[in-house]
């Protein structure tokens, strides 16, 4: 009777479990948290940070960074484009337009593509296509195809079938029915999803270089391996600037497209 309003036993249990999970995680990882805050460690970290300033702004290196940034941009754009095509192709069967077997097969393929992280795809593609930006493009395209295909299929399933039915009933061939009956309905949403993934892909494209797939990441990995922190900090600033710029560009495009 003395139970307070709004606090159920289940909620208390959930909070307890949550705290136990967090405590268990820290205990399992055996993190030397105390060692992080000793004077020596703080001094060492401070020295490490100090080596990043000032950033290397020599024109030689800036040209290199600009080229790598351009490469990163190209990787993200081409891979998003490929993924949009691949996603659209897989979304049609995944939305159940080519029978039940096709639906299951397409969904399985999309899940598989989506569950393997971009970086893992990149290590595989470096084997398949050699070091360089092409491997990064393929890796991003594969993962993004999985993501976009699923989103595209959902949009297709939720779009009203009446315009397409009307066209098909009037005797239009399947391709025309899709192009004029279905595509105009889903296109704004597809475009919005593709732009959103492009924003994410440009961030990913910047780090795929860690496994040898070109772009800014390769430059960062290289300069950190050579202990050239000043150059690394220039690359990190470039990454930040690019992420901000892309956010702005894609917000502008989305407003213009009305999606």
């Amino acid at each position: 009777m003395s139970r307070r309003a709004g606090v159920s036993g289940g909620a208390v249990l959930a909070v307890g479990l949550l705290l136990a999970a967090v405590a268990g995680s820290f205990a399992w990882l055996d993190m030397p948290l105390a060692a992080l805050f000793t004077a020596a460690a703080v001094e060492e970290a401070g020295g490490f940070v100090a080596r990043f300033f000032p950033p290397d702004l020599s024109s030689d290196f800036l040209a290199k960074v600009a080229w790598a940034a351009l490469e990163t941009l190209a990787i993200s754009l081409v891979s998003t484009l490929l993924a949009t095509l691949g996603g659209a192709l897989l979304a049609l069967p995944a939305a159940g337009r080519h029978g039940l077997a096709g639906r299951h097969a397409a969904r399985f393929a999309l899940n598989l593509l989506r569950s393997v992280p971009e970086l893992v795809w990149a290590t595989l593609m470096v084997l398949a296509a050699g070091l360089g930006p092409f491997a990064g493009t393929l890796a991003l395209a594969l993962h993004t195809t999985g993501v976009l295909g699923r989103l595209f299929a959902e949009a297709l399933e939720n779009s009203p079938p009446t315009p397409a039915d009307a066209l098909a009933g009037g005797g239009a061939p399947a391709l025309v029915t899709f192009l004029y009956g279905t595509l105009p309905l889903v296109a704004p949403q597809w475009l919005a999803y593709a732009l959103y993934r492009w924003e994410m892909n440009i961030r990913m494209a910047a780090i795929l270089g860690f496994v040898g797939a070109g772009g800014l990441g390769a430059l960062l990995y290289y300069s950190l391996s050579l202990f050239q922190e000043a150059q690394a900090s220039t690359v990190i600033i470039a990454m930040l600037a690019m992420a901000v710029a892309v956010d702005g560009a894609s917000a502008w495009l989305r407003r213009r497209a009305g999606a």
């Binding site: 999970a21 967090v22 268990g24 995680s25 820290f26 399992w28 990882l29 993190m31 030397p32 992080l36 060492e44 970290a45 490490f48 351009l70 490469e71 941009l73 190209a74 990787i75 754009l77 081409v78 891979s79 484009l81 899940n111 598989l112 569950s115 393997v116 992280p117 970086l119 893992v120 290590t123 595989l124 084997l127 398949a128 296509a129 050699g130 360089g132 930006p133 092409f134 990064g136 493009t137 961030r203 990913m204 910047a206 780090i207 860690f210 496994v211 070109g214 960062l220 990995y221 950190l224 990190i236 990454m239 930040l240 992420a243 901000v244």
Partner: protein, 273 residues
């Protein structure tokens, strides 16, 4: 002129498509797009040999024990990282929330301190989440050495930035009137947060945190590629030794882990909704 009456939009569309294709060409060059590379004999042989090694999966007890440890490492890294992120995000998110600003009630001197504080917090959050978690991890590995500690800190910082921003947005978009009347009646900011905002916003905050945990599991899977422990490190080693059987087993574990985290997070969020 025969096409125009049938679809008046056809010509402009064709024009835009052609323009896009012209723009695409330099991009393809920059991205070094040459599908033929996939079929060069050297690459085909390397990939074929590697893929042929996928079966049978590596299932020796030694390796499975290693794999189990790495899996728990990965999950613990994600959980600890999110815990750190929440610690970082809660104060910053509260600072961002205008409906908890006492100076906004006035009359008084405009509250420029509050505005300055909010702008500072917003910028800090932007930098924290603007640098990808793998870059943070790469940096922390230099300071703290190889191992999951670097991954936990990296996740804590990046996800702290994301959570803080979203917490602020959620709190801003909830009904400000209960908190406002509490503040006007003289209660403190924390009390106004707890009794004025959280009852309306709590569910959404929790649900977003759970969703971010799911993302953190996916992120911590790859942390090992820069030496921050977990499954990724195992995968990196197997890939470098071109051990297909081990790589296939690890890939299968990835899939199971990611799908399980997906499922768990969805179930939790459905229960909370």
């Amino acid at each position: 002129m025969t096409a125009a009456p049938r679809d008046p939009a056809a010509l402009p569309r064709l024009g835009w498509t052609l323009a896009a294709l012209v723009l695409l060409w330099p991009l393809l060059q920059l991205a070094d797009f040459r599908p033929a590379a996939l079929f060069e004999p050297g690459n085909l042989a390397a990939m074929g040999h590697f893929l042929a090694g996928f079966l049978p999966l590596e299932t020796s007890p030694d390796f499975l024990a290693l794999l189990g440890r790495a899996t728990v490492d990965t999950l613990a890294m994600a959980t600890a990282g999110i815990a750190l992120a929440v610690l970082l995000a809660v104060p910053l998110g509260i600072v961002l929330t205008r409906s908890l600003s006492v100076s906004a009630i006035g009359p008084g001197r405009g509250g420029w301190i509050g505005r300055l504080l909010r702008a500072g917090a917003r910028m800090l959050l932007a930098v924290l989440r603007g640098v990808p978690e793998l870059v943070w991890a790469l940096l922390f590995v230099r300071v703290f050495g190889l191992g999951p500690a670097a991954g936990v800190l990296a996740l804590g910082i990046t996800y702290g930035g994301m959570l803080g921003k979203v917490y602020g947005e959620i709190l801003e978009s909830t009904d400000a009137r209960p908190a406002r009347s509490l503040l006007e009646a003289g209660s403190g900011r924390l009390a106004a947060l707890a009794y004025g905002l959280l009852p309306n916003a709590g569910q959404e905050l929790l649900s977003y945190t759970v969703y971010r945990w799911e993302c953190a599991v996916r992120a911590s899977v790859v942390m090992g590629f820069v030496g921050a422990g977990g499954l990724g490190q195992l995968m990196d080693q197997s890939m470098k030794m071109l051990n297909g059987g081990e790589a296939a087993t690890i890939l299968a574990t990835f899939l199971v882990l990611v799908l399980a985290a997906d499922g768990l997070s969805e179930a939790l969020r459905r229960r909370m909704a």
